[in-house]
């Protein structure tokens, strides 16, 4: 007998895998609070120089909401994709809450070196990136997926390669070109 919450989540994940565009939307109410709670909890303990693993947050959140039996992931790459998308949705939402103007500043604050830049400016850059990424998705799904997994999902190149079924070299090359495209798009939008 399945726990109904797990069964429901598993069904949504299945729909997601079958290309249901609404799936991540449907999943969010289940995991949102838990994910936020996990994020806050873990971040309060992590030191700033410690690299956080967003997928670990997502994994922990799923574990907590599905205490019995666990959620039925199709495979590891399925999880990587879902985790990255959820982290993107949540970070973008938090960026909005930080009162970021859509086109905050001309400067692009998307580097670890920008950690001292005021939150509003960083939030503005994350929102702007989110929108650029939506444009890139229309042009090049693979490049956009690589960026989503690396930047929002915090995945390694090897994990991304596994998730997308491509070589690690392809991931590195896609990412290097996607960065240029996004940087140009962000600069254009910041006029």
């Amino acid at each position: 007998m399945n726990d109904p919450v797990n069964a429901e989540i598993t069904q949504i994940l299945h729909d997601w895998n079958s290309g249901d565009e609404n799936a991540s939307e449907r999943l969010l109410p289940f995991v949102y609070d838990e994910l936020k709670r996990q994020a806050r909890y873990l971040m309060s303990r992590e030191r700033s120089d410690h690299t956080l693993q967003p997928t670990a947050l997502v994994h922990e959140a799923f574990l907590r909401i599905s205490k019995q039996g666990g959620v039925n992931w199709q495979n590891r790459s399925h999880f990587f994709g879902v985790a990255s998308r959820l982290m993107r949705q949540i970070l973008v939402d938090h960026a909005r809450q930080h009162g970021a103007a859509k086109r905050g500043t001309a400067a692009i604050h998307l580097s670890i070196d920008d950690v001292t830049v005021p939150a509003e400016a960083r939030a503005g850059s994350i929102l702007a990136l989110h929108e650029s990424l939506e444009r890139l998705e229309k042009l090049d799904k693979k490049q956009a997926a690589v960026v989503e997994m690396r930047f929002f999902g915090g995945l390694s190149n090897a994990e991304i390669a596994e998730a997308l079924g491509v070589s690690e070299r392809t991931v590195v090359r896609s990412f290097s070109v996607a960065k240029l495209w996004l940087y140009r798009d962000l600069s254009d939008g910041a006029e």
Binding site: D3, P4, V5, E8, H94
Partner: protein, 383 residues
Amino acid sequence: MTGYDREKINDAVADALTMEAAERAAFLDAAQLSETERKEADSLLSIAAAADSILDAPAISFSKDFFETNADPLVGKLIGAFTILGELGHGGMGAVYLASRKVGAREQRVALKLLRREMNTSLLRERFRHEREILAILEHPNIAKLVDFGTTEDGIPYFAMEYIDGKPIDAYCSAHSLGRDERLELFQKVCSAVSAAHRSLVVHRDLKPSNILVTPDGTPKLLDFGISKILETAESEMPAATVTKLGAMTPGYASPEQLRGDSVTTAADIYSLGVILFELLSGRRPFEAQEKDPRLILKAVAETDPPSPSSLATEGPGQERRLPISAEASSEAKTLSTPQRPATADNVGNGECGQRRFGLKRSAATSTGSCSNRSQKNLIAGI
């Protein structure tokens, strides 16, 4: 050469990026790109130095402060004609705020439910509208009324309900040290509210003490139709209905069919009413020990009798008169379509034993277990 091949540009640019900047032009010259392709490659490579440092770490590693809690930014804000006074609570889809508006010279307080901004998608807006419409069709003195609804300036739907300044029914009974008869009287009003909802083909699906508030003058009010459902209508139009249903269900009060994730009829509410009645009379829930795991509740419901409420009673209700509570909990909802009389919310309150029996039978005063039929795996308990 003409043409525009994105893959070709990507390949050339990726290769060029592995070289010293000075070597790139010669490499591109030899790469057989069309004029527009070359232009795009040059454009991208011209910002290579500046773009190098972006996205060099996961977003979260320099966005930690986004997750810091801060005071609710909505407090003090105006939504429609309502001023937000504070948060009353929040769930999966929305938050409920205490809000007020002026009506003539009088201040009207409402519970204002607002869809969460991050949940403002067409799918979830539809779910939210559904709850509002259910409230609009329910008119009963023991159901919190819909007062107003609308959309905020930035497109987030909300609705305002009658604000009930009351205590959950279990806490109310304890606080006022109500005796058994008073508890039953209160419970009967709850049953009449649930029955009214059922007559409108609305199943509440999340009946529990915290959704039944009792006002200081002793009127119980049923709240939170957030996961309720209109029977046999609009089911196909409501793809997200099951999402919040399962997310929000409360195992201790949920019927076996809900725990299993099966389809739900009015019988599910009858079951929950039975658990609430049990709790009001004994201070405990019949399967409290198993509530950590829905599977254990299901097993317990199917295989065992709950403990006798009178053996558990630690407060209020008198124990000298014995009343059986019974509920047929384990059989599927299909038993309701048998010729035998089905249980309704009203006859739970009136003490009749129906097909799903979780009712009171005053006349069977001392015959604990008289409604028992183990072959139907009824729950019987004496008080």
